[in-house]
Symmetry: D2
Subunit: 139 residues, 4 copies
């Protein structure tokens, strides 16, 4: 398993009339977090895209238990639990910093790999290898 903690802070822009983070904003946090996870693995989006590969989201899901509030420091814990074949699944847990016993929000995104022509392809070797390296380190 690969795990990466991305930190975000909640600002006015994120919070709705109920005083909690608006539900779609978590998908922005997830995007930030997975970009940093991939960069950490040596797979930054710009250089993947230069190779003509894109990772469009094919599914996104979020379960909301507790609302994050203004000025809270959040941890977006991002995990890859299995090597991708045709698709890469990334999971997310959102915690208030200092309390990772209680997850406010959980979610996942599923990503396809597509080539320059927009055709789905299998997970590229470089991606698989970078992920494998991390899985081995984590053993």
């Amino acid at each position: 398993m690969i795990q990466y903690d991305h930190h975000v802070k909640v600002y006015y822009k994120d919070v709705d009339q109920m005083g909690i983070v608006y539900y779609s904003r978590y998908f922005e946090y997830f995007e930030q977090a997975r970009t940093e996870l991939l960069a950490f693995l040596g797979l930054d989006v710009s250089s993947i895209e230069e190779k003509g590969i894109q990772l469009p989201v094919v599914s996104g899901h979020c379960d909301y238990r507790l609302g994050a509030r203004l000025e809270q420091q959040l941890i977006i814990r991002t995990m890859v639990n299995e090597l991708p074949k045709a698709k890469l699944r990334i999971q997310y847990e959102v915690f208030v910093k200092g309390n990772d016993a209680e997850s406010l929000v959980s979610g996942y995104t599923v990503h396809a790999f597509i080539n320059r022509k927009g055709k789905p392809i299998r997970a590229p070797k470089t991606v698989i290898e970078k992920l494998k390296d991390q899985f081995n380190l984590a053993d």
Copy 2:
């Protein structure tokens, strides 16, 4: 089944570098569409909230097949397929206007009912009755 078509147009603000609507924006479209669905049923958010009831999202899900593009007119088809008990489930299909054979994006949201104290409650009578009226009409 209750069904309601909400129309949105895609603007620059919605579109990302790949030239398609950014994935979290569909959850904003869903919010607009279910607000209009509820208002159409006589359940506008402001008057529900005045009764001390809120309908927070507990789950949100989206499957992305095709990307909507700049200046497209979209239909957000919004459906309620069953009467809520503790939770209300709303489904969404996104079409380009004039082509409702091919859904670009599908999704759903699940909503709890909570009272002024933030405690979960069963679906209020008024909500059930308004929905029932529509189910009967649709029979």
Copy 3:
């Protein structure tokens, strides 16, 4: 003078913890409104861009007097007061529908014209002519 009224409704996505529309959201409303103004003039963004011309924003400004609230119907009144030379200036007034005596928010955006190479150019003839037609009509 050219004037066009664009209608938007305020949803949860737009409203912050103070219960009013978050300040940057007006710039999204302005974008929607000017897109519709330009489309109304026969200058839709897609067909301008096909000719290799883009209208990037070079300045944006907003003065906030009163906050718009959830479920309000707003009019984004959009105006062009002078023919563009190197730049096009568009003005905006935001009203609650039914009360256009009191403007909640005023603003403007200034747009350059650039060609395919990203170089600034003078306002294209087609743009000038479409605007002139309207100015004449308004006389």
Copy 4:
């Protein structure tokens, strides 16, 4: 003069079809930056609001010279140049990290001080004093 550098990274969520940061997003960056500036001065938004004081934006302005791009690290340089009387003016310059000779975007926001009743008040003593401390340090 008070100056504070806030760092943001550009993600997909921020970038439009032209491959540059969408124009309203800078106002979100400005909000983040001034929140951090105020927190740095000991004036975090939550504790100001607990005292019944709010700082609504009364004007926002942005001049766009160059577009920030995906995965760029930006510095939002935030400055207060004068002690507030009835209003606080904050200025912003946006740089790509490592190149603060060339500002991509400049802007400012003007904030009123209002009390619990929503009435405008003069800048509270605590705010003035915290700012003065910094002005003195900077001398």
